[in-house]
């Protein structure tokens, strides 16, 4: 037992084979037992994966290791020595760095300022910034992690933001790096870049702990993987000796179908038509430049693209949330006026439903009870009360129906929405938007951060809607998801549709190149082996 903080971050000669050893960790949040007697050993110089359903306790366990939460009981050994990690500063000093699921960045600071925050070496920041700039250049060269040090966080893409998080950890001399769902918001290209960085780290003898919902990633780069379920550690496996099906079954407790099963599309008449749309963002920067597209009944059109290329503004404009500069949106033959800040109501009235990209920021009021979210956007419908009054009973009944149909857990429509796990929050939104039998469904990032059990369910629901003759516009940065769900793929780059691909024939590489702004013909050429 050594409660004293070590002076230097760099661990000297490794005393033990294990970089991290957790024993009998317990953590409760009020009534929730988030970690139950968890044991976990992570070998130095390896990439160790952790998987588990939403709410299994992965983030909690890592937050304990990082000193952000304190365990109720249990011991932590770092490099074979028992440590009492009381706060994040302590963990950092022990060489543990963490990239949180929700980034811990100050949005209006520059990259450099975020990197030095908390690790400044003098009372004035100028020398720290200077040193950090040099150090970043070095790290960038070493790991090929390129970010503009003077960019402001809110102006750069999520992928870039994540690099900043990694740079933060490396700048502090992390020997063990924890990443909590790092690829949830990344494009395949960005994810690949990330993995290359992680491999470099491993090759240098550093240890990586990776939490993810994507078994493909586990199989691709981890050396070993631990499975958690309902607060308990189920099993730790050597990656090379297992397969995705086994992991999925351990995670969910049943067999999961890992690929999407869908029949051929049967397109009918055009239900959504977007013509020459031009849209600017809050700052007046034009983000959507003359986009035209159409979606027919019974087909799923996917929009692929690196995030930040205008997809969000396109979605917001089509769904009535954002005024267009010019152009038209026609839903079901009806042209929508998007002027005024209640355009979303008119879009809904025309038969359009919208699952927004960012459920917590937009699609839900997390402080509301579940039933209140079950009517969000449809509150004025006559079934929820006549005249000015809200028929609470009717709303709750409807919520209970939705919960049942989409298997939301816990099945409690009076629970505060924040207390549902991410996957279940997503189901609440889907249930609401799909439940009203819309003609057109717009879906943004439907499975971001959702566990594989839930992904399976959500994909099946989307396909069922298509087969029921609805027009579906799907935007996702998850190329896999687009490729397996969409009947047609449009690739968006710099505010324009730069190409169309057939998921059956186009290769991942080809689409990926188009996403990077390389023209379709060139991409087809280049992608050819």
């Amino acid at each position: 037992m050594n409660p004293q903080r070590p002076k230097t971050a760099a661990a000297p000669a490794p005393a033990s084979r294990w970089a991290i050893e957790l024993e009998k960790i317990n953590k409760r949040f009020g009534a929730v037992h988030a970690n139950k007697d968890i044991d976990l050993k992570v070998e130095r110089g390896t990439i160790h994966g952790i998987v588990g359903e939403n709410g299994a306790g992965k983030s909690t366990l890592m937050s304990i290791l990082y000193g952000f939460y304190t365990a109720d009981s249990g011991t932590i050994k770092v490099d074979g020595t028992e440590r009492h990690i009381t706060d994040s500063r302590h963990a950092l000093a022990l060489g543990i760095g963490m990239v949180h699921q929700h980034f811990m960045l100050v949005e209006n600071f520059t990259v450099l300022e975020n990197v030095v925050l908390g690790a400044e070496d003098s009372a004035l920041i100028a020398p720290s910034l200077k040193r950090a700039r040099a150090e970043l250049e070095r790290i960038e060269d070493e790991y090929n992690l390129v970010v503009d040090p003077d960019a402001v966080i809110e102006d750069i893409s999520v992928g870039q933001q994540q690099r900043v998080e990694i740079l933060k950890a490396l700048y502090r001399g992390a020997q063990t790096l924890i990443l909590d769902e790092p690829t949830g918001v990344l494009t395949p290209k960005e994810a690949d870049d990330l993995f290359r960085v992680l491999e470099t780290l491993r090759d240098q003898g550093k240890t990586v702990i990776l939490i993810t919902h994507k078994l493909r990633e586990i199989m691709a780069i981890t050396d070993s993987v631990s499975v958690m379920r309902q607060g308990e550690m189920v099993k730790t496996l050597t990656t090379s000796e297992t397969n995705p099906e086994e992991i999925a079954e351990l995670m969910v407790g049943r067999r999961v179908l890992l690929r999407v099963d869908k029949g051929p599309a049967n397109p009918g008449k055009t239900l959504l038509e977007v013509k020459n749309l031009v849209v600017a963002d809050d700052l007046g920067v034009v983000r959507v430049k003359d986009v035209s597209l159409s979606v027919r009944a019974g087909e799923i059109v996917g929009i692929a693209g690196v995030s930040g290329n205008g997809q969000s503004e396109l979605l917001e404009s089509v769904t009535g949330m954002r005024d267009q500069r010019s152009g038209t949106v026609v839903v079901n033959g009806r042209e929508l006026s998007l002027k005024g800040d209640d355009g979303a109501a008119r879009a809904r009235a025309a038969g359009l439903a919208h699952v927004p990209e960012d459920r917590q920021h937009m699609g839900l009021v997390t402080t509301f009870e579940e039933w209140e979210n079950a009517i969000l956007g449809y509150q004025d419908a006559p079934e929820y009360g006549g005249g000015p009054f809200l028929d609470i009973e009717a709303a709750r009944r409807k919520a209970a129906e939705q919960i049942k149909r989409f298997d939301v857990r816990p099945a409690n429509n009076r629970l505060k929405t924040a207390n549902f796990s991410g996957g279940n929050q997503q189901k609440i939104v889907l249930a609401r938007e799909m439940g009203r039998d819309p003609d057109v469904l717009i879906v943004g990032q439907p499975t971001r951060g959702v566990d594989i059990g839930a992904i399976e369910f959500i994909h099946n629901q989307i396909i069922a809607m298509r087969d029921a003759g609805k027009a579906i516009l799907l935007v996702s940065v998850e190329l896999d998801e687009i490729r397996s769900l969409a009947d047609r793929i449009l690739v968006m780059f710099d505010g324009q549709i730069v190409g169309e691909a057939d998921p059956a024939t186009a290769s991942e590489g080809e689409i990926g190149l188009m996403m990077a702004g390389i023209s379709q013909s060139a991409a087809a050429l280049e992608a050819r082996p």
């Binding site: 409760r28 009534a31 005024g340 509150q379 809200l390």
Partner: protein
């Protein structure tokens, strides 16, 4: 260990506030001691003064009436995420709406004059809040600044209106003409002699109705739902197709109209004319009332009663104990706000530990809930 069990509901809403109130009085007691008076006696006087006899209780209710209106005014805006600190000014200018109509109709009957003046006051008060709402919605001007400014502008406007327009030439004091009986709101004492000479009047019934109105509005109407959505997450309300700018203006207008009801209580119920500064800071007390009552009508009712009691009990103290000045009363009120409002968390950890220690069921409950939940 670090695991905490939430307090049982009754402890949370009854025991904790009582403990805080006791602490506030304890500290106030020290202040009373400073002027060489017996604090216990002082508490006794306050409680007796506020609740012990008809006149006193009537005054308590009269003050509470104002605080209910201004508390509700603040709360409605707060539910929509707006911090309306202009309740004072809104109530003040609403006096114009009330007096003009009341003077015009004071030869008729209060049954006509009162509702008409209520509409007048609501319109003027609502309008005074609508402008900051409009500026917030359309121009992005921060409602906190504009409502502060509108308080000052209201003060200047009212002095002008009272002195130059409404004041009869024969009167010296800056005040409007006096209302004839038909323009006055009946006093409760006309029905219950219990209330002695206290000025509590039918406005309190309006206040109680306003409590119900706000409860229904916020939790049982579509508008209320929209307001709360806006207040909790403006992106979500835009996503839901609600017009945020319209909601802001509506919320502010309702807020101002509620604040304007203070004018009915004061102008038609008590003064029987429009006098300078009749609001006397009620708008600001309303902020404290709403915050303490957690923006819920039931909470606001109790908080308003508490403040009414402090106002009236403090008065009594001034009459009974000569050393006590009106500033001491303000100090006591401030301490009550501090301890029951801002430092409400002071005893919570200790109380939670105590409950853990002494209540085995409580412990067992915590464990069983956790297993149930994690196995679901």
């Amino acid at each position: 260990m670090s695991a905490r069990t939430p307090l049982p509901r009754w402890a949370d809403i009854v025991l904790l506030p009582l403990l805080n109130l006791a602490l506030a009085f304890l500290v106030s007691g020290l202040v009373v001691l400073m002027v060489g008076e017996n604090p216990l006696h002082a508490v006794q006087v306050i409680i007796y003064g506020a609740f012990g006899y008809g006149d006193g209780f009537g005054y308590t209710l009269y003050y509470a009436t104002n605080f209910i209106f201004t508390g509700l005014a603040f709360a409605v805006a707060a539910h929509a995420g707006l911090f309306n600190i202009g309740g004072d000014g809104q109530a003040y200018v609403a006096g114009l709406g009330a007096i003009v109509i009341a003077l015009a109709l004071d030869q008729t009957h209060w049954l006509l004059a009162m509702p008409a003046a209520m509409i007048g006051a609501a319109l003027v008060g609502g309008f005074w809040a609508f402008i900051p709402g409009y500026l917030q919605a359309k121009r992005g001007s921060h409602v906190v600044i504009t409502t502060i400014m509108f308080n000052f502008i209201a003060a200047a406007l009212m002095v002008y209106m009272i002195n130059r327009v409404l004041k009869p030439a024969t009167t010296m004091a800056p005040e409007s003409a006096t209302l004839a009986v038909g323009g006055r709101v009946p006093q409760l004492r006309q029905f219950f002699s219990f209330f002695g000479y206290s000025p509590v009047n039918l406005s309190i019934v309006v206040a109680l109705l306003a409590l119900v109105f706000v409860y229904v509005l916020v939790w049982h109407t579509k508008l209320g739902y929209a307001l709360r959505t806006l207040g909790q997450n403006p992106s979500a309300s835009r996503y839901a197709g609600m017009s945020n700018s319209r909601l802001i203006m509506i919320a502010m207008t309702i807020s101002g109209a509620l604040a304007g009801m203070v004018a009915i209580n004061e102008v038609m119920g008590v003064q029987n004319r429009l006098v300078l500064d009749f609001v006397a800071g009620s708008g600001f007390v309303g902020i404290a009332v709403a915050l303490m009552g957690r923006n819920h009508p039931v909470g606001i009712l109790f908080a308003a009663l508490l403040f009414g009691a402090l106002y009236q009990g403090g008065q009594e103290l001034q009459f009974v104990i000569p050393g006590v000045t009106r500033e001491m009363i303000v100090v006591i009120q401030a301490l009550v706000i501090l301890f029951t409002g801002a430092m409400e968390g002071l005893f919570r950890p200790a109380l939670e530990r105590t409950f853990m220690l002494f209540s085995p069921e409580q412990k067992a409950r915590a464990v069983s809930v956790s297993t149930a939940e994690s196995e679901s």
